[in-house]
């Protein structure tokens, strides 16, 4: 991964001192709550229900074993022994004290970590494909470009006080998008043109939240050298003309929609005309310098022995099930990428305790060159595992409870911390996730259902990405009571055109009704599907109606329906 130079390290160290001083001034009463809020937020510190929450950046989801051990140390020393991996490839700690937060950041700085711009109205942590560099379907490794954008956006003097938060994602895969790129304020699709040169299709105006929008490609075939200048043009148009009078209409997606894509693109292009070829143009030397941080690890020349693996799969059904769901193809012969499911029944999705953090760090060193990745589905990846060691790794993961064979299945639930922790939430989300996990406790049945994404958000801020779940669940507040809206048909496709926002099926459900409604929807899929169809395929073919009628046929649901219609 990218290793800090003295330059990078000094900046993070200076940030710790700046933040320490800001906290001290706040505690001395020299900053009001309103003045301190944007300062602490852009350093990832929220004031929550029980305690502050500190969100740390994991740039584009890449983590070393060494850094994971530091996260375990933070969890033990300043928190309650665990952390929560988020849908933005970051980690959150739910129980630190404000007074301790500068010390936490100082400790993190020793392992090249920080909380810079993990919240607030600025460019947030950059996200990308967790299989970057190893996926066989990859055209361009997005990591060096992600680091370029990270550096460019860090403490950008012009774009640190935007109308609203701003999220940039990159992908370089073809035929698949593991970063939900189309749902970002800027999405950068890296690919190779006919000559083999790297070009970028630039998307703008995607986002979740109250008004979910799949972004629009506003520029195709941009030579990679211009990627920062083009981002600068977009950010400048947004910073100058995005709405600031209404929090709910301040994202760039609203600007793009109100101007229309054509006019928006014209304004960006006329800004870019001034910037093209200017100082922000990336040099070959700089890209090469950054790319050295992402060189392939020293892979061994492995002989692939399919018979040996087949034997292990045949004699260990548990291993076979795990292999089928949690092991992905690797571009290097003899290697595989392994996803560690953080969706063990009985634990909150994305949570990991300090002991397991240490254990995972050890496994990363032993099996995967010391590297780890965080996925936006809140799982971890060991990206470079020798196939012949998969069985040993599985055995170790099983002992840790990290071998749940459910990646991409219904029980691989993506879920925000919700009303149990988050002060923004309208409703609890974790108990809903747990209730669904319990309702679907038969592994064979869940396995048979196949690919199905289920996402839960505790409020319309959509941290659980419910808009793009095949099944989405949104917590809503109705006169002080918690209810849940179900959406169907959300999907992240390989490009914007195939990425869909789910449709609300009707009035919301009570917490107790949700598992039954989900079960009814899933049963309807089983009844309607053809042998090759995934859930989303059947849904798109058959339409919403049969699923909707199944959900509302659940006993007791009719009451909720008539009640909510009254309030509608």
């Amino acid at each position: 991964m990218y290793r800090y130079t003295e330059f990078d390290q000094r900046m993070v160290d200076e940030r710790v001192e700046q933040y320490r001083d800001q906290v001290a001034r706040y505690l001395r009463g020299e900053l009001t709550d309103d003045e301190f809020r944007p300062l602490r937020l852009r350093n990832g510190l929220y004031i929550q229900r029980h305690a502050p929450m500190l969100r740390l950046a994991i740039p584009y989801g890449l983590l070393s074993a060494h850094q994971m051990r530091m996260l375990a140390h933070v969890a033990r020393t300043w928190d309650r022994g665990y952390g929560h991996f988020t849908t933005r490839q970051n980690i959150q700690f739910n129980w630190p004290r404000l007074e301790d937060s500068p010390d936490i950041l100082q400790a993190l700085a020793t392992v090249q970590m920080h909380a810079i711009q993990t919240s607030g109205n600025c460019v947030r942590n950059i996200t990308t494909d967790p299989m970057a560099g190893v996926a066989p379907d990859e055209q361009v490794d997005p990591r060096p470009y992600s680091e370029l954008v990270r550096q460019w956006s860090t403490f950008h003097p012009e774009f640190s006080w935007l109308p609203r938060k701003f999220k940039i994602a990159l992908t370089g895969a073809s035929g698949v998008d593991r970063a939900a790129t189309a749902m970002h304020d800027i999405g950068l699709y890296l690919r190779r043109d006919d000559t083999g040169a790297v070009v970028v299709d630039v998307l703008a105006g995607g986002g979740m939240g109250r008004t979910p929008v799949v972004g629009t490609i506003i520029r195709r075939d941009l030579p990679w050298q211009h990627v920062l200048s083009y981002c600068e043009a977009i950010l400048r148009v947004y910073n100058r003309t995005g709405r600031r009078d209404n929090l709910h209409k301040a994202r760039i997606k609203i600007l793009l929609r109100s101007l229309g894509a054509e006019q928006f693109t014209r304004e960006v292009d006329s800004e870019f005309a001034h910037l093209e070829g200017g100082p922000a143009t990336v040099t070959e030397a700089e890209l090469a310098r950054i790319a050295t941080g992402f060189e392939a690890p020293p892979y061994r020349r492995l002989t692939v022995d399919p018979d040996h693996l087949q034997g292990q799969l045949a004699s260990h059904p548990g291993f076979a099930r795990w292999h089928a769901r949690n092991v992905s193809a690797h571009r290097v012969p003899g290697y595989a990428a392994v996803t560690l499911s953080l969706k063990r029944p009985g634990t909150a999705p994305g949570d990991l305790d300090a002991e397991r953090m240490d254990a995972v760090a050890h496994l990363a060193e032993h099996f995967s060159f010391g590297g780890l990745r965080v996925t936006h589905e809140q799982n971890l990846v060991l990206a470079d595992v020798a196939q012949q060691e998969l069985f040993d790794l599985w055995s170790e993961l099983r002992a840790l409870g990290l071998a749940t064979p459910n990646v991409g299945l219904l029980t691989d639930i993506v879920c925000c911390p919700g009303g149990d922790f988050c002060s923004l939430a309208n409703a609890k989300s974790l108990p809903i996730a747990q209730a669904i996990q319990e309702r679907f406790d038969e592994a064979d049945y869940v396995h048979d259902l196949g690919d199905l994404t289920l996402n839960i958000s505790g409020c319309i801020n959509s941290c659980g990405h419910h808009h793009v779940g095949n099944i989405g669940i949104l917590g809503v507040d109705k006169q002080g009571a918690e209810f849940y809206q179900i959406t169907l048909g959300g999907d992240v496709g390989p490009e914007p055109a195939s990425t869909r926002v789910g449709t609300v099926i009707g009035p919301s459900f009570s917490a107790g009704q949700v598992p039954d409604a989900i079960a009814a929807i899933v049963d309807r899929y089983v009844a309607l599907r053809t042998p090759e169809e995934r859930f989303i395929d059947t849904l798109l073919r058959a339409g919403l109606a049969p699923f909707k009628s199944a959900a509302y046929a659940v006993p007791g649901v009719a009451h909720a329906e008539s009640e909510s219609l009254e309030h509608a």
Binding site: T5, E6, F7, M11, E35, Q151, F155, W161, P279, A285
Partner: protein, 172 residues
């Protein structure tokens, strides 16, 4: 009335100095007094009076287009950009455009809700004088102008990104 003490960069060093400019709010009657900082719209309406009122200055609100000040460059010595609230970041773009695109080389001043934690960013987009909000300690605030030793990206100060300025091999 004059602003009182402000922060000004002189040869890139921050100084706290007495300031003689008088700010005229929108709608305030300006009858050609010198050392007046007037709304850009007022200045555009009265170009002759502006010439006679030297030294003269104009201020821009977040929605004022910086390009419209260009014809006034020869008649003014100061441009101020107003930050109505801490979180309104439009003025940073206004400043960057005045410096990098329109070539303003005179004094560029941040006014309004200016607090010490914005100063580093303001300096980088080209401001060289700062009217700190009156209830804040100006001596302490000066320190924040140098919160960071250096920066990754280019803007106005410095204009070039680090990768065009530095020899990385010597910073490892």
């Amino acid at each position: 009335m004059p602003e009182g003490r402000i922060i000004r960069l002189v040869d890139d060093r921050a100084r706290i100095v007495e300031d003689a400019w008088t700010l005229f709010e929108d709608g305030a009657a300006w009858s050609g007094e010198p050392s007046a900082l007037i709304p850009v719209a007022t200045a555009l309406e009265q170009p002759q009076r502006l010439l006679a009122a030297a030294p003269a200055g104009v201020w821009l609100s977040p929605t004022d287009e910086p390009a419209q000040v260009v014809p006034l460059f020869a008649s003014i010595e100061l441009i101020a950009v107003r930050f109505p609230v801490l979180g309104d970041g439009r003025g940073y773009s206004t400043a960057a455009l005045l410096r990098n695109r329109h070539g303003w080389r005179g004094e560029l001043r941040a006014i309004g809700d200016v607090l010490r934690d914005q100063l580093f960013f303001m300096r980088r987009v080209g401001f060289d004088s700062f009217v700190l909000r009156a209830d804040r300690n100006i001596e302490e605030a000066v320190a924040s102008l140098s919160d960071f030793t250096d920066s990754y990206q280019g803007s106005v100060e410095p204009a070039l990104p680090a990768f065009r300025r530095l020899d990385w091999s010597s910073t490892r």
